[in-house]
Symmetry: C2
Subunit: 292 residues, 2 copies
């Protein structure tokens, strides 16, 4: 199942803008910039930035008004993948169909390129051509979603749980942070920069959290049932490392149901707030259509 | 030479506020928060936050108005030390008189605690109780100073230069970024949040860059001439790793002169802008007094 055609209209400007925001390989330190570009420009679905732009559109804003914020979110995602792939953490060799950054450029460069991408993400967001109050709010949302209460916190518990029996509460703790937090932030930032009020922004935040859950469950299922070639990263690696996953706790069938339930809940929440947009629905269903 | 007594009036509020801003060890993930506090609350001079506060005061602001920004800068410094100490980078065992974070909590936790500190730094800065326009400018300054054009960029060239003959241009490239950028940002952010105009803020930025150079040269000299006990970190380690340093390129005596020259230049620049403050002078001279 490929990324829906209509959504290319969102992901293509993201790719183009990322190319501009990332420093050129001619600018010193050239190796660092080459490493940053290698990771961040590898082909990806750009799910998080697309969600940010679709969220902005769903509240009546132009997608270009949140393009830099969308790119910032993709950079944070990319930074977190680089660090998670490191030998000391998940020790993965393959990512997005190519060798992981530390395999290609060495461990020191991977650590530092991740750090530099994180800095560039926040710098790009803070340079958004938007009202200062909205930019400040967006920075608050993105940093909270990235830190110890979000992305990094989830990864820590994931690492500490390897090889242990994990209960449902811990599994949710991990994924609400590791996946949900950034996807929730992507949607909320799109809403905030798009001019939505607090209530609508929070509704889109919750939508993102639920969609994030659906994507994570789907990824867990695909990690079980696909080949490395299909995934562009190591397959079956979760099970080998005895990682906590939805299929390992609930089985494949119940995991699939949980993902569908999350998507329906996410869309119902938005509809109840009067937020209806065809691309929002399409993106939400894309999470689970990949499983068919 | 201990940190000047009068400056305790600046560093003590920083320590107290850092304790509040860092998540409690009771908040999950508890191991992560313990690791963040272990590194960030280890006794330090708090040079960068003190410079931020003194810069704010030199433009007529209250030091408490920049306290959260000052803490943010210390967190960025701390994050960069944690990552630089990692086995894949400098592989240091001792920092601020205690084992480095990866020695104490393992490599995965050190990578992730560094990441979380960086996120918390930007979150704390973005939550500063200040005009939104000034906060946005401060975020731009801090992220630019941290990324591939600043701190991280300098570290990359430092790593790539190990064991190689390094010329004066490369040595300056490394240290203007690795040390100068963040100290320059600390002073500029103090000025910006303190309400200074662009010209005064830039003057304080330049002051910080020059003071940063003086501190770096002094640190290089002390690394050559002190014991680990005096330093609180490994002594002579630069030479062992054949690292590019000012003494290795210019010799001890000429390095000392370079440091003094940088301090005098820094203070002359401020005086020419009419910025005169006793604590600014005291901090500037502290850089080189350590060498006597």
């Amino acid at each position: 199942m490929s990324f829906p055609l209509q959504l290319k209209a969102y992901s293509e400007p993201v790719d183009a803008r990322l190319r501009q925001l990332l420093p050129s390989v001619e600018t010193p330190p050239t190796e660092l910039h080459a490493a940053m570009r290698y990771s961040c420009l590898a082909p990806g679905k750009r799910l998080r930035p697309v969600l940010c732009m679709v969220a902005a559109e769903s509240v009546g804003a132009e997608i270009h008004s949140v393009l830099d914020a969308a790119c910032a979110i993709e950079m944070v995602h990319c930074f977190s993948l680089i660090h998670d792939d490191l030998p000391a953490i998940d020790n993965d060799d393959l990512r997005r169909g190519v060798p992981t950054l530390h395999k290609k450029y060495g461990e020191a460069m991977a650590i530092l390129a991740g750090d530099a991408l994180f800095a560039l993400a926040l710098e790009s967001l803070s340079r958004s051509d938007q009202m200062a109050e909205r930019v400040v709010r967006a920075v608050q949302i993105l940093t909270a979603a990235s830190g110890s209460g979000g992305l990094v916190g989830g990864e820590v518990v994931d690492v500490l749980s390897e090889g242990k029996a994990v209960d449902a509460v811990t599994l949710d703790f991990i994924h609400q942070r590791k996946t949900g937090a950034l996807i929730g932030a992507a949607c909320e930032i799109g809403a905030v920069l798009g001019g939505a009020d607090r209530e609508v922004s929070k509704a889109l935040h919750l939508f993102g959290i639920q969609i994030g859950l659906a994507f994570q469950i789907a990824d867990d299922i695909l990690n079980e049932t696909s080949t490395a070639e299909q995934l562009g990263k190591s397959a079956g690696s979760d099970r080998e490392r005895q990682k906590a996953t939805y299929p390992s706790l609930y089985g494949l069938e119940q995991s699939r149901e949980k993902a569908e339930f999350a998507v329906e809940g996410a869309l119902a929440g938005l509809r109840s707030m009067g937020i209806v947009h065809p691309h929002v629905e399409e993106l939400a269903y894309y999470a689970i259509q990949r499983l068919q």
